[in-house]
């Protein structure tokens, strides 16, 4: 079978899974739903592997195929098809998405066991995977937008999964609204592309673009900036990032899948896919890179003070995606995608471990209350440690190779781009510090009550269900993460998933060791061969120098975290006292939420209120009621003729007759 046939199958299985589970939720038993959901993604992964094998059997420069099932519109200059585009980049993304998704489905199989909405969860999750695959495999901008929108919806549905929680629904709406802002950018970009180039199809667009646009012409810059609007909303970069921390309201598997591994990487994929346009608009590419850098640093600083475990990991995600955005914007395409892959591994793992710990804490997410889980939950702690090491770029873990490869490229490009290297290493330091801050606060030390309960009796702590954020009582039927909580130690599927990811997090980077086996770069490079930036290749020596510096920084960061949080327990409180203004700024997330509220939300509400009070009441009602009055009074006037007097009617009759006779007289004379 051809690669594109496998691609269609990849799309088919998750969609089928979603529909089957969604429609059959009354008849399919719980376990079966979980198996069907996981199996459908597993099958998609198998087809993805088949797709890869098929591609590998071809000549490296000819590994791109398009295939379409039918035409949506082919008239008036439009030619939109339901078409997929299979090349190394989309195959890579398919494998990452389906692979990590399969493991997360497996994890959810155990984690969500006692949730009332089990079927709904798997249906939504499958639908999400389908939409993400659609986005990745799309062969034209229209289908990309379709997949983009579906992914946004799936994210909304899954964030507000426990929909009786007010915080969850609010977070879902926030995510959706901010994503819509990005959608506007994407759609406008598609319109502009169509207007300039006359087509939506990837192959045609990327072929025509270099001839149609000169470098930095305003149209192509506008297109790229609009694409960036979409990418930043989806990938939670500044300033459209405020939805991501709140999205942690969703169940932990959702955070792992959507907000770590797949959906938030859609923006990165978009920039990589449209790199031809970005090459033609270097200004836009630079803007993207600097925004990524800013996000990287801001998110890193915020993660230093976050006390909510999942939110801290969310800010870490934001920061790492900043690295990816920097990578694909400055030309380190393959490096950026490699970091995407490794980040998927260790971030999903970190979320899974966090989910396990939070389950043990009966849904308490604040690290102020957690300690000593190292002894209480061995497996989870080891998994968390693996993920943390990879995130902090500990030597020879996967994160180590991927992060430093981006920075090595920045060095090789030189000039202004050395800023990225320097600040990138600063960010790496921050990453190491905040990662191990979390680990050293949660794992070692005297066990907290919940952990003690686990050590003593092996029972998971049960608390009265209430929403920790608002204090309102949970709705046990729907809006509540299950009466029972499942931890990894007691659930085999969770352990399998976390085990596989831990292995990949630690050793997954060994496929791309500079100078030894650069499989990822060699695989992906032909996609980006048409970019002049791909000719800048860091030498092996420079790469290893960068790796050495990275190793040093990572170990320094871990050491600092160890010193502050383990050796000198009062040190962090003292630091907070000394740097109180800075601390306040960071705890308030650099006041972005407040700024958006002031600049966007309040004016919008004011406009709405004006529209309702003034415009609606005066203009619209005036028009409608006015018309009504006019017609009514007209009717009242006409009604006067119907007096009820027969003689008056007879009079009118004779008047009419006389008039008619007059007319005939006059016209015949």
């Amino acid at each position: 079978m051809s690669a594109t046939a496998w691609a269609w199958l990849v799309l088919l299985f998750p969609l089928l899974g979603s529909i089957v589970i969604g429609l059959g939720f009354k008849v399919i038993p719980t376990r079966a739903a979980g198996i069907v959901g996981t199996a459908s993604i597993g099958l998609a992964f198998a087809c993805g592997v088949a797709m890869l094998v098929n591609l590998l059997g071809q000549d490296p420069d000819a590994r791109h195929h398009a295939s379409s099932l039918w035409d949506y519109a082919s008239a008036a200059g439009l030619d939109i098809k339901l078409g997929v585009y299979v090349d190394q980049l989309s195959t890579f993304m398919v494998l990452v998405v389906t692979g990590v998704s399969t493991l997360i489905h497996l994890y959810s199989f155990g984690y969500m066991r006692s949730d009332e909405g089990y079927h709904r969860f798997f249906s939504y999750l499958n639908f999400f995977v389908f939409s993400m695959l659609l986005l990745v495999l799309a062969g034209n901008f229209v289908l990309l937008i379709v997949g983009w929108a579906f992914v946004g919806f799936a994210s909304y549905a899954l964030i507000s999964f426990w929909y009786r929680r007010t915080t969850a629904t609010g977070a879902g709406m926030k995510a959706f609204v901010i994503n819509v802002v990005g959608d506007i950018g994407l759609v406008l970009a598609a319109f502009l592309i169509f207007r300039e180039l006359g087509t939506f199809d990837y192959g045609a667009v990327f072929a025509k673009a270099p001839q149609a646009f000169s470098t930095n012409e305003w149209t192509v810059t506008a297109i790229c900036l609009l694409l960036l609007l979409g990418a930043f909303a989806k990938s939670a970069q500044l300033p459209l990032h405020t939805w991501l921390p709140d999205a942690m309201e969703g169940p932990t598997p959702v955070s792992a899948l959507i907000h770590a591994a797949t959906m938030v990487t859609a923006g990165v994929y978009l920039i990589a896919r449209t790199h031809v346009l970005f090459v033609l608009a270097p200004t836009a590419a630079d803007i993207a890179a600097f925004t990524g850098l800013a996000t990287l640093l801001v998110a890193g600083t915020i993660a230093l003070v976050m006390t909510d475990l999942k939110r801290a990991i969310a800010y870490s995600t934001m920061s790492q995606i900043g690295y990816m955005v920097v990578g694909v914007s400055i030309g380190a395409y393959s490096a950026g995608m490699f970091h995407l892959m490794t980040h998927a591994f260790f971030k999903a793992l970190l979320f899974m471990a966090a989910g396990s710990i939070i389950a043990a804490m009966a849904n308490e997410q604040s690290i102020d209350k957690m300690s000593g889980f190292g002894r209480a939950m061995r497996f989870t702690s080891i998994a968390m440690l693996c993920g943390g090491l990879a995130l902090a770029a500990f030597p020879f873990t996967s994160g180590f190779f991927s992060k430093d490869e981006i920075l090595a490229y920045a060095t090789a490009r030189g000039g202004m781009y050395l800023i990225f290297t320097v600040l990138g290493y600063v960010g790496a330091l921050l990453t190491a510090i905040y990662t191990f801050r979390l680990i050293f606060r949660v794992l070692p030390g005297k066990p907290c009550p919940e952990a003690q309960e686990l050590i003593d009796s092996g029972h998971v702590h049960h608390a009265h269900p209430f929403n920790p954020a608002t204090g309102e009582e949970e709705d046990a039927e729907v809006g509540f993460p299950g009466a029972e909580h499942h931890i990894a130690e007691q659930s085999a599927p969770m352990r399998i998933a976390m085990g596989v990811l831990a292995f990949l997090a630690l050793f997954g980077g060994l496929v791309q060791v500079p100078g030894v086996d650069e499989t990822i770069t060699r695989f992906l490079d032909p996609v980006f061969a048409d970019s002049p930036l791909s000719e800048i290749v860091p030498t092996v020596g420079a790469s290893w120098t960068g790796l050495a510096i990275g190793a040093a920084i990572s170990l320094t960061g871990i050491g600092i975290a160890y010193w502050v949080y383990v050796l000198r327990p009062g040190a962090s409180a003292a630091l907070i006292r000394r740097l109180r203004p800075v601390h306040t700024l960071l705890v308030n997330k650099w006041y972005f939420d407040e700024a958006i509220d002031l600049l966007v939300v309040r004016p919008a509400l004011a406009i709405g209120r004006f529209a309702n009070r003034t415009f609606e009441r005066v203009v619209v009602d005036g028009l409608v009621v006015g018309t009504e009055d006019v017609v009514g009074s007209g009717g009242r006037v006409v009604r006067l003729v119907q007096s009820g007097y027969v003689r008056a009617y007879a009079l009118l009759l004779i008047v009419g007759f006389a008039g008619l006779a007059l007319y005939f007289l006059l016209s015949s004379s």
Binding site: S643, Y645, A648, L651, I654, A661, F664, L665, S669
Partner: protein
């Protein structure tokens, strides 16, 4: 000679018409119309329409007017009140009548109806007599003839239905009541009481 008759009959017709419109008592109006109908019969005779004249007198004046007389006698004739609730009616009606007459006159006299300025064609003897009319009615105009007979039937049935007496409570024969001692019966009615020993 003919002119004198014409003017006399015309005056009679006009007088009768004005009388119908002007006389307050409807009975006098009916009488005025009878005068008008007779005058018209004379005019018909002048126009060599003997059968029509006869039909006018016999049917119209003889039957229809008699019907009118019956109804007016039954209903009675109240004088109408002078106040006219419709504004302007008293003023507009004569105006319109005049306008109508003037227009029609202009149409007849002044327009291109020039063929009217004739004495009529020379008709042979026997024009307007029953034989000719009968032949036309039964040969050429059979359908209108039959249709008008159906119309007459309908009118008769309709009139009976319209004016039929409806039974109202309080009117008609009294309903027998069973007050009073059993065995007592009203004159002319079957006894309603139950005699002792009657198996029932």
């Amino acid at each position: 000679m003919e002119a004198v008759l014409f003017f006399a009959a015309a005056l009679g017709a006009l007088g009768g018409a004005v009388g119908v419109v002007a006389l307050r008592n409807p009975f006098y109006g009916v009488l005025a119309l009878i005068v008008h109908l007779f005058s018209l019969a004379v005019l018909f005779l002048l126009l060599t329409a003997a059968f029509v004249a006869a039909a006018q007198v016999v049917v119209y004046a003889g039957a229809v007017m008699v019907l009118y007389v019956f109804v007016v006698a039954y209903v009675g004739g109240d004088t109408e009140p002078t106040f006219d609730p419709i504004p302007g009616q008293r003023f507009l009606a004569p105006l319109l009548g005049a306008a109508l007459f003037i227009e029609l006159s202009i149409a007849v006299l002044g327009s291109s109806l020039l063929a009217l300025d004739t004495d009529g064609s020379n008709v042979k003897v026997g024009f307007g007599d029953p034989a000719g009319i009968g032949r036309l009615l039964l040969e050429r105009f059979l359908l209108p003839f039959e249709a008008s007979s159906i119309l007459l039937l309908l009118a008769a049935v309709g009139a009976v239905v319209l004016a039929a007496r409806r039974d109202e409570p309080g009117a008609g024969t009294p309903v027998p009541t069973s007050t009073g001692t059993p065995g007592e019966s009203r004159p002319g009615e079957v006894g309603t009481g139950v005699p002792a020993g009657d198996p029932s």
